[in-house]
Amino acid sequence: MLHINCDVGEGVGNEEILMPYINACNIACGGHAGDVKTMHEVVALAKRYQVEIGAHPSYPDRENFGRTSMDMMEDEFIKIIQKQITNLEEIVALHDAKIAHIKPHGALYNDVAKSEKKAQLFLDSIVKYKGKYKLYIPYNSVIEKLALKQNFEVIYEVFADRNYNDDLTLVSRKKEHAVLTKIEEVIPHVSLLKNEQKVKTISGTKVLMKSDTFCVHSDTLNAMQIIQKLHTYFNSESLQSLDNFPTYKRYGEAGLLLTWEAKMTQKVLYNVLEYQQNILNFNIKVILDVIQSNNSLLILYDNKKVNIKTLQHLLERLFLLESDKIQTSTRCCWEVPVCYDKTFGIDLEEIASNKKLSVSEIVELHTAPKYQVFSTGFLPGFFYLGGLDKRLHIDRKSTPRLEVKKGAVGIGGMQTGIYPKTSPGGWQILGNSPLNFFEVSKEKPCFAKAGDFIKFVSISLEEYERISEAISNGNYTIKSAEVC
């Protein structure tokens, strides 16, 4: 994976779309740009996307955006650099986040790379953070040698969108070709650095250069496009190879379908449910609905506000975030009473003779497992249940019945299920449950959700009547227990 950092909080206002792509950000803390408000906003976003936070101190020169070198009194310089870092520290503390690194900005960055005096002065001003925050600096610079000698922890930074001179200084912005604005230039530049630890300088020679992190200027022309392309080029493949990573496909003009392995297994289901929970917890405004099924999630989004690629990248990032343990919702096991009497179990005898089992053996096999709810579909309140005993796998009826009663419990193929309302159906019917599986008047019309379990409990005709009456009088509570 490519480690990408961006300078942020500089008033461009694109942090919200930027954050999902980057690993670290350098936050303007009052020197060249940034104020309390922007720092709060950017720190909150960085925390949300688990992006490393860096302080980005500068010469105090908002007018020139910190891009002009300044000669300052040493005491004053130290005070001003420390003040900027403290500004950010205070805000970061309020968000219960941490600063990871410091990166000098603009002219200061260039000065400390070239001038021993300025480099030492800068190191003096941040010496109290040594061991606490890392330092972003260019490879083979003046500050690198000093910092290493004085035991600062350094991170080698390369600009993904800037050309270098033979001495590894940046080509001045005043010259032509200082900035790489075309993606066709950026990718070979980054590839060479990443794969061969070399940079092709403006003169065309390849020079050794180490890189731990790549900076992309978020305010340059095509910046977002460059970042998206870098992500696709360098990171997509490694994401695809991750375990449990779904495939992404467009589904219509405003849908993105995420599909996991084509299996109805608990492992796949839990991957689906966990990711669904992550997406819901993240509360992304452009996502209108997340429809869960056995091995897929369909994300419906507002296509007027976000394009599919950006949404996909955002979801990919979400997948990589470490999730809070607290977020996983508890799973319940619901006791569903079923009367397997002949009056309801209209296919019991036929199945018995087919399968060479007694009716009571069928009931035993059917009530033994805890079935897992994989999803709800087909009809409102119809649960797809997994876990039917192989001995009960059976073909559907050759001619479907025009009417299967509400509450009918059936088997068909490798599945078992309950008809939530009277409807046509082709399953073999074993019994009937007096419960309501779909109640429109309730905020949550179904008592069970995907991931929960259903346990069928055999009841007599008398109990069936008693429970039915209790339900219609409103004094029946479905038995349930929390599972794990």
């Binding site: 084509a262 109805m264 091995n295 579909g377 409102p380 309140g381 939530p420 179904c446």
Partner: protein, 281 residues
């Protein structure tokens, strides 16, 4: 109250649909032709989501028991107010006792009767759209009374809204590749985009196509489907799901209509012809 004197062929109350309950297996439902339903509401200054009456092929006959304004948009089913021809796509004032009837179908399939502030039938799971097992009724019947608010302040609309003829005329149905489009061979893909298909059995749930597409595509693990999804059954039937479709399905989803084409299809009748045009992604 609006009194239903005659129900027409298939008349139901619909708003834009029932979203956010699909994870309970509840279909979206809602108006088949969003464009004309929204247009009728806009003409009256209503909210887009206000409930309208959707009429199919043969309109209903209704009597207004309170003064209000109405607008009719969509198919031309020869609407007459008190036996006088009524303008489409315009706000029309109605008085107590006025009757609205429909006659010969001139073009289109579905027409929308919007009323000032919308019909006030019961909201179930955040929508008024009729659906079996969700709302008390599936369609309106003779003798039903549908509530609406009295509205005394008449709005005069002088503006003329140009009829979007291509909605009714165009054969072109724009589609994206569906999630299982790759299941099809090059030859099958070619057939899909080079042939003309004709509409077979159709209702609010789905439009079947007469022509078959031979295939040996495997089923998929049940997954979400949407209005506008084209499923291919093992026997080769092409089924275009519409607003009342189930939330999930196990047939390969080979194509997906865009919003505009769902609207066009909603105005197509049995034996009408369509051609698929692929949208680039």
């Amino acid at each position: 109250m609006l009194e239903i004197l005659h129900s027409g062929l298939y008349t139901s109350v619909q708003d834009l649909g029932r979203f956010h309950h699909r994870n309970f297996g509840v279909p979206v439902a809602g108006v088949m032709d969003d464009y004309h339903a929204k247009l009728a509401n806009h003409i009256l200054g209503n909210e887009e989501n206000d409930a309208v009456l959707e009429m199919t092929l043969q309109g209903a006959a209704v009597c207004f028991h309170k003064e209000t304004q109405i607008a009719i948009c969509g198919a031309d089913l020869s609407a007459t107010l008190n036996n006088q021809p009524m303008r489409l796509n315009a706000s029309v004032k109605v008085s107590k006792g006025d009757t609205l009837t429909f006659g010969k179908r001139k073009y289109g399939v579905r027409t929308y009767l919007a009323i000032k502030n919308g019909f006030q039938t019961e909201i179930v799971l955040k929508s008024r759209s009729f659906y079996d097992g969700i709302t008390p009724k599936i369609r309106v019947d003779k003798g039903d009374f549908i509530p609406y608010q009295v509205s005394l302040r008449p709005i005069e609309t002088k503006s003329n809204i140009a009829l979007q003829k291509e909605i009714f005329k165009s054969k072109e149905i724009d589609v994206y590749e569906g999630p299982e489009f790759d299941f099809l061979s090059k030859q099958q893909q070619e057939i899909l985009f080079k042939s003309t298909f004709s509409i077979g059995l159709n209702n609010r749930m789905a439009y079947q196509l007469e022509e078959m597409l031979k295939n040996s595509c495997p089923s998929i693990i049940t997954s979400a489907v949407l209005p506008g999804t084209i499923q291919l059954t093992p026997s080769g039937k092409l089924i275009i799901l519409m607003k009342d479709c189930q939330t999930t399905g196990g047939y390969p989803r080979i194509l997906q209509l865009n919003q505009k084409s769902i609207i066009r299809l909603a105005q197509k009748h049995t034996r009408d012809q369509i051609q698929f045009k692929k949208l680039s992604t």
